[in-house]
């Protein structure tokens, strides 16, 4: 895995084409909401739908969300749980940028380097690697991830329907070698042992991958919250762990990321700048 660049999958719904690009210049945006907003700024004219994850997703406990940005003028931002961030990470992508509109409903199946644009719901049901696939599909009037997870304000219904997107499946298949495995493992166990610091109660509901709690609240998704947490795309309930700069720096360092404390401290300002830039673009467009 190349830690100095971000690997982005672009999907054009209109032309039914895809492209994979790596950007070193996206490195300072760390991930999640910062990475997503920067991609929204670059591709503003396309009004894209963006799924972005962070550097810790898939690696550490409770870093379980995916940031979704619908750029229709001002960006609307939500965070969904489930298995999607894990699958995107181990499909090898940091973000997924969808633009254009399909004239007839299309299902998208992403499997490593292959993307399929499907029209048959039955074919979509069978798409994806068994046991390694996340699926957003329409059921009983709502779009659900893994048959359970959603986000507030009819976000997915609005964003998917407007683009003629009927469903999305992401399969993962790769594993990642780590240089300092023992250090990573020690940190992993240390963080997992802190589950009593999460401000949610355990339940027996379907859990996000990497979370031991199976809580009641993960089904509804999240909005707002701590910027650093949203760049890592950790669960809001794990803010005691992932808003601690020391822990975050150790986690990044153990994976081989070369961020400094200053890079991490700078990120709330970066996000603020991106939000005002997007507001400006939206204002210019509407005049």
């Amino acid at each position: 895995m190349n830690y100095s660049s971000r690997r982005i999958l672009f999907l054009d719904l209109e032309k039914e084409k895809f492209d994979i690009k790596s950007y070193e210049e996206l490195h300072p945006f760390i991930g999640g909401v910062a990475l997503g907003l920067r991609l929204a700024e670059i591709h503003y004219d396309y009004h894209p739908l963006i799924f972005a994850i962070g550097p810790l997703n898939g690696f550490y406990p409770f870093v379980t969300k995916t940031c979704i940005i619908d750029c229709k003028g001002s960006p609307e931002i939500v965070y969904i749980g489930g298995s999607l961030s894990h699958r995107l990470k181990f499909a090898g992508f940091d973000a997924l940028v969808i633009h254009g509109k399909s004239l007839t409903p299309r299902f998208i199946s992403i499997n490593g380097k292959e993307v399929r644009f499907l029209s048959n719901p039955e074919e979509f049901k069978g798409a994806g690697l068994p046991g390694k696939c996340s699926r957003i599909s329409f059921q009983d009037g709502v779009f659900l991830l893994d048959d359970h997870f959603s986000v507030p304000n009819n976000f997915l219904e609005e964003a998917f329907t407007r683009r003629g997107l009927a469903g999305l499946a992401v399969s993962s298949g790769v594993s990642v070698p780590l240089e300092s495995f023992s250090r990573y493992e020690k940190l992993y166990r240390d963080i997992l042992s802190r589950e009593d610091t999460l401000n949610i109660l355990p339940s027996n509901k379907p859990s996000c991958i990497g979370c031991s709690l199976g809580c009641e609240s993960s089904a509804t998704g999240e909005t707002g919250g701590n910027i650093l947490l949203r760049c890592l795309v950790a669960c809001e309930s794990a803010s005691a762990i992932y808003s601690d700069l020391g822990i975050v720096f150790s986690c990044l360092d153990a994976l081989g990321y070369d961020y400094s404390h200053e890079d991490i401290e700078r990120i709330p300002g970066v996000v603020e700048d991106l939000l005002s830039s997007l507001e400006d673009l939206s204002r210019k467009e509407s005049t």
Binding site: G58, S83, F90, G131, D146, V176, N204, S212
Partner: protein, 83 residues
């Protein structure tokens, strides 16, 4: 005596995949490639498929990391042919 991992209470599974990650870490990797445990999800329920090779790992650690008590570890005597 060798240890055998069994998903005795699959209905308790919440799909966190901590067991999958534990098995992979014991093999020195992070990610799903060549995973010896697979969790299948459908309509909020889960089923678990174990590759027999998982029993060559520290199955006690896999059992212990599961937050919902899905697994059981049992001792099995291995009868091997003697020359």
């Amino acid at each position: 005596m060798s240890k055998i991992l069994k998903a005795k209470y699959p209905k308790k599974c919440i799909g966190c995949e901590l067991c999958v990650a534990e098995a992979q870490r014991q093999l020195g990797r992070v990610g799903p490639e060549g995973s010896l445990i697979r969790i299948f999800r459908e309509y909020g329920t889960f089923s678990i498929v174990l590759d027999p090779q998982v029993n060559e790992l520290d199955v006690g650690a896999i059992k212990d990391i599961c937050p919902s008590g899905v697994y059981e570890v049992s001792d099995v005597e291995r009868h091997e042919l003697l020359e």
